[in-house]
Structure formats: structure tokens, C-alpha cells
Symmetry: C2
């Protein structure tokens, strides 16, 4: 039985600890997913967190951590140099069985490194991958890997497909029943792409998933697949390009609207921006480690933190990791 | 002395030959770059092209070709099976010294294949790369390679940087004097990225270019570099993602505007769409082959065709290929 508590790195991210505490409070309210406050554990500087919580009507348990890993620090050396970091404290809470999930808005490399080293991989999983779920078209699409593993082997890509499918089916609200898994490529024809992709194609075809073949980048916007598998280098480029381009493009549109003195323009664009913001869906998940790990954006506000906590709770409650372990034990087709 | 004529594949692309002929006529007018009609050579089905030209007041020379390679055909087998294709005719016109440039809106793989095999590479160039220039921020940025070479070696990336810099400096209107060349990566710190990128970094530092180190995907929208170097797989993903996402995002904005009954919305968005449409800048260039080759989008309209012809003329007139050959002969720094 997995512990159902969620350890939250209260010190990680651009707006910590204020936005993290506000997000935790929101997660317990009717504005958020309505989590029982007893399920939350805030990890970080006790005096600062107590001061922030003192203003609230809710009591949330605090676990003290004296150190913080900054957004710009090198993850591996920072993890060595700061044994009492707040993200390290979250991981220890899961390893000791006190909690079942980690939520971190801080340095992504540090969240991935601390979780992978501290928790190890699930039975049968070779390499963890970062899954980001976006709801662009009205249907969610999950892309794996967004940067945990920039030089994967073909068999890692297969496991990304399997884990992404489990996440979509088990954990996502209005997720599909038999998720269609596509391989991100530069053409839809079989035999396209790099050596890695050519080697992964037959393995994906034999895997116990609904593999639909190659998909192109534009297919992300066409609801052509439910899970899109890619290497962590390409996935990270895709993610950052989407973030950068949406900000840039909406800026251009805003300028046009301002030129026409449209005052409601900000509201209209806000709605579009929300639709393409993946933190609306709870953030990224590090799939394949022995615990549920949600990675939020560094600039997360209280609403994004609350969504991330909600995703962590769903991951525990729906048994994503148990389903991944069962999936890994299923045989490939001959 | 390079021949200054431009061979245009009149049969390639979704709207051929009508849009191609209309684009050639436009290129000779004051709406377009104002090219001398004697510089143009339309390659394709003579009776159809004569019929289209009969309605115009201009006379443009036609070179007959009896075959066309379709957008969906496999490039290598189609090039073998159709020895009298219109794109093949364009390449032959350059090889025989009749023309100095090819403009093709058809099957990209066929344009690249026919040009690379038929023209060979420039002296010192190991592998051609596709350069796409966009003017997103008010300043042009060129990305190389967009898909000619999906598994490049580190030294190919260095040459992409050199060729892209020459293109920006020699050929682009309001191009920079000493173009800043960046390497597309998932972080800006040195030592980031795949083995390919780690090996390319020191070579780029020693090359006779203004190398500024790693750049991230968002930097494309921040005018942080003038030339962005990447492998053809990543470049193609980036290009298709930008195309797909801009269409998708502008669709969302349009929906919001319609909900507010804003009738000028289409005009305002049209302006934004134009700003992010790389065909406004003339299309893509295949750099490194022994001739100037401009690759337009299959769905190009007359304005896009006219821009592509203008780019081909500028490439000849400014001596891009001669400058590339000189650049390749420059020694690296010790």
C-alpha cells in the first residue's frame, strides 16, 4: 500500500515559498482539487513556512529543511553540497514511506536527479522519462520524454510509450480508453528518421500498446495521438519552443488588438493562453521512479501549484505506478 | 562568372502551374522584386505554360519538360523513374551553365535530391544544408539545417554555421554585419546536450565565424542569434512545429475574436500570420550545392513564388556561393 501523502518542496521555484504555500492552501479548498490538508507535507524552512501558514485557517504539517537548491545551480553538485535541501527532504519522505508523492517547482534537474537517485526506478523500468500533458485540442495529449534522458536507447522509447499510455488511461480526467501511441518523426511513413527511431519502430509495434506509427510535430495540434514518444533532447526543444512561441505570438496579436483599442483583448488572450499552458493540467510527471513525482514550472503561481498537487494526488489514488509495473510485466507480441 | 538566369519548376507544388506562372509574372512587376523577364526560365509542360502566358503581356522563355514529380512521391525512386521531370530540367539548366539558380515549390525531397546529385557540392563543402530565414522579431534569423541531413557529423554543423553566416551577411536585406552564430541546445551552458553537440562546440569556437555558444529554442524569438545551427532532424521538427502551432494558435485567437464579433479580426491576424510566414522571406535555400537553390512551400501562392524568385536573384547577384567557397578556404583558429 502506497503512502497517500504528498511531500511539497515549499522552497523551490521563482515564487517560493509564498506561491507554494498559497498553492497548498488552494489545493485544499473548493477552488482547487479539494485535497484533505492531512495529506500534505510542506518541506522547507520551518519559521518562514509557519509565518505564512499563521495567516491561514488551515493547518498543514511542516517538515524542516535548512537548505534550498537554487534555479540556476548545477543539479548534481548542488545535491552533493546540500544534504539538507528541501527537495532532498521531499524525496526522503517518500523513501521512508511517509509520503507517496513529491511535488517540486524548483530546479528541474535537481528534482529529477534527487528523485531518480533517491527513489530508484520501478520494477522493470530501465530509465525514467518526463511526461508533459497538454490539452490543446480539447483532448489531452501526453509527450514523453521532455528531457530526463537526452540520448535514449530504442527500448527506452518503448517504455516511454508504455508509461505514457498508462498515465493517460489511469490518471487523466477524460483520458482515452486505449491510448494511441505515436512516435514523433519527420514524416509519417515507416522507415523514416534517425537510426534510433528506425530501431524503435518494430519494438513499438510488438509492445503491448496501441502503437499507431510515426506522427509529425503538427499532429500534436490535430488530436492524432494520445501519447507522443520522443527522445529527451527533441522533447525539450519542443516544449521550450511551444512556450516561447506562444508567448511571442500572443504578444504580436496583443499588439494588433491594442492598435484597435480592444480592451477585452487581454481577457480573450488570457483564455487562449490558459488553454495552451500545460501547468493547467498539473505540470510534468517523472514517470518510472519508485514514487509519484510532479515537476511544476519554476514560475508557477498558486493555481499552478494547486493543479500540480491535484495531479500528484490523482497519481497516487489511481495507482499509476502499480499499473506501470503491471504493464512492464506484460509480454511483447511475437 | 555564374549564369544569372533563374530556372523555375513551373509544375511543382500544390497550385502549379497557375500560381507559379502568376508568381513569375509578379516577380517581374513592381509588386514583386522587379526582375528582368529575360532572367526567368519556366520549366514544364510547354502547351500549358504557353496558354497561361498568353493571357499576360510579358514574354518568359519556356523549357519543355514532359514529366512532373508529385508532392507525395518517394523522391529517389521518382527521380529515377522520371528522367524528364520539370525539377530535373531546372537542375540540368544550371549544370549546363544556362542558369545560375533553381526555384522549386514541389516535393522538397526531390528538389534536394535532384540538386545535390545533379549539381554536386561547392568546393570545400561536405554536406548541403537547408537554411530557412524568418523575420519574427523585426530582425531576420536563419536556421540551418531544416532537414537535408538528419544525422550530421560535428564538422557538418560547423559548415552550416559558416554557410548560414555568409547567407545572412551577403544576401539578406537588413542582414547583420558580423552574424552571431548559435548552436541550438537544451541549455545555454557549455558542455550541454548530445554527444554531437558537445563535439561540435569546440569546432565552432575555432571556426572563422562569430560563434556565441549554445542558444535555446526560445532564443529564436528573442533576436539572440542571427544564425541558429541544428541537425536536420531537430530543424525539421522545429519548422513543422512552428507552422502547425501558429496555425493552431491563430485559430484559437480567431475563435475568441469571432465570439466578440470582431470583423477586422481577420485582417489583424492576417498581419500576424504574414509576420511569421517564412515564405515572406523567400523560402528555404539549399546551401552548399554548386548553384543557388530556393525551396518554396508546396502551398505557395503567387506572392510566395515571387518572393522565392527574388531570393534566388539576390543569391546570384550577391555571390553567396562564391563567398561560401572563400569562407571554406579560411583557416580555423588554433
Amino acid at each position: 500500500m502506497t503512502a497517500n501523502r504528498i511531500a511539497i518542496d515549499a522552497m523551490g521555484g521563482d515564487n517560493a515559498p509564498e506561491a507554494i504555500v498559497a498553492g497548498a492552501l488552494r489545493a485544499c479548498s473548493s477552488e482547487g482539487p479539494g485535497i484533505d490538508p492531512d495529506r500534505l507535507l510542506l518541506v522547507g524552512d520551518r519559521p518562514r513556512l509557519e509565518a505564512l501558514l499563521a495567516k491561514a485557517h488551515l493547518s498543514i504539517e511542516i517538515q524542516h529543511a535548512s537548505q534550498v537548491i537554487g534555479m540556476a545551480e548545477s543539479p548534481s553538485s548542488a545535491l552533493r553540497a546540500k544534504p539538507d535541501s528541501s527537495i532532498g527532504g521531499c524525496v526522503k519522505a517518500v523513501r521512508s514511506g511517509l509520503a507517496g508523492a513529491v511535488v517540486g517547482m524548483g530546479n528541474t534537474g535537481a528534482v529529477v536527479g534527487a528523485s531518480t537517485l533517491g527513489l530508484g526506478t520501478l520494477e522493470g523500468v530501465r530509465r525514467p522519462g518526463i511526461a508533459v500533458t497538454m490539452e490543446l485540442t480539447g483532448q489531452p495529449v501526453t509527450i514523453v520524454d521532455m528531457g530526463a534522458n537526452i540520448a535514449p536507447k530504442p527500448e527506452h522509447l518503448v517504455q516511454y510509450g508504455q508509461m505514457g499510455a498508462v498515465l493517460m488511461q489511469a490518471c487523466m480526467q477524460n483520458g482515452p480508453d486505449n491510448p494511441r501511441v505515436g512516435l514523433l518523426n519527420i514524416g509519417s511513413e515507416e522507415g523514416k528518421g534517425t537510426t534510433l527511431l528506425k530501431e524503435a519502430q518494430p519494438l513499438l509495434e510488438r509492445a503491448p500498446i496501441n502503437f499507431i506509427g510515426n506522427v509529425e510535430a503538427v499532429d500534436i495540434f490535430r488530436n492524432a495521438a494520445d501519447v507522443v514518444v520522443t527522445d529527451g533532447f527533441t522533447g525539450n526543444i519542443v516544449l521550450k519552443l511551444l512556450e516561447g512561441f506562444s508567448g511571442f505570438l500572443l504578444g504580436l496579436v496583443m499588439k494588433e488588438l491594442s492598435a484597435h483599442k480592444v480592451e477585452w483583448g487581454i481577457d480573450a488572450l488570457g483564455k487562449v493562453r490558459k488553454q495552451i499552458d500545460y501547468s493547467e493540467y498539473g505540470g510534468a510527471m517523472l514517470l518510472g521512479v519508485n514514487g509519484s513525482v510532479v515537476i511544476g514550472h519554476g514560475r508557477s503561481d498558486a493555481a499552478a501549484v494547486s493543479n500540480a498537487i491535484g495531479l500528484a494526488a490523482r497519481a497516487i489514488d489511481t495507482g499509476v505506478n502499480e499499473a506501470i509495473v503491471r504493464g512492464m510485466a506484460e509480454p511483447s507480441q511475437a
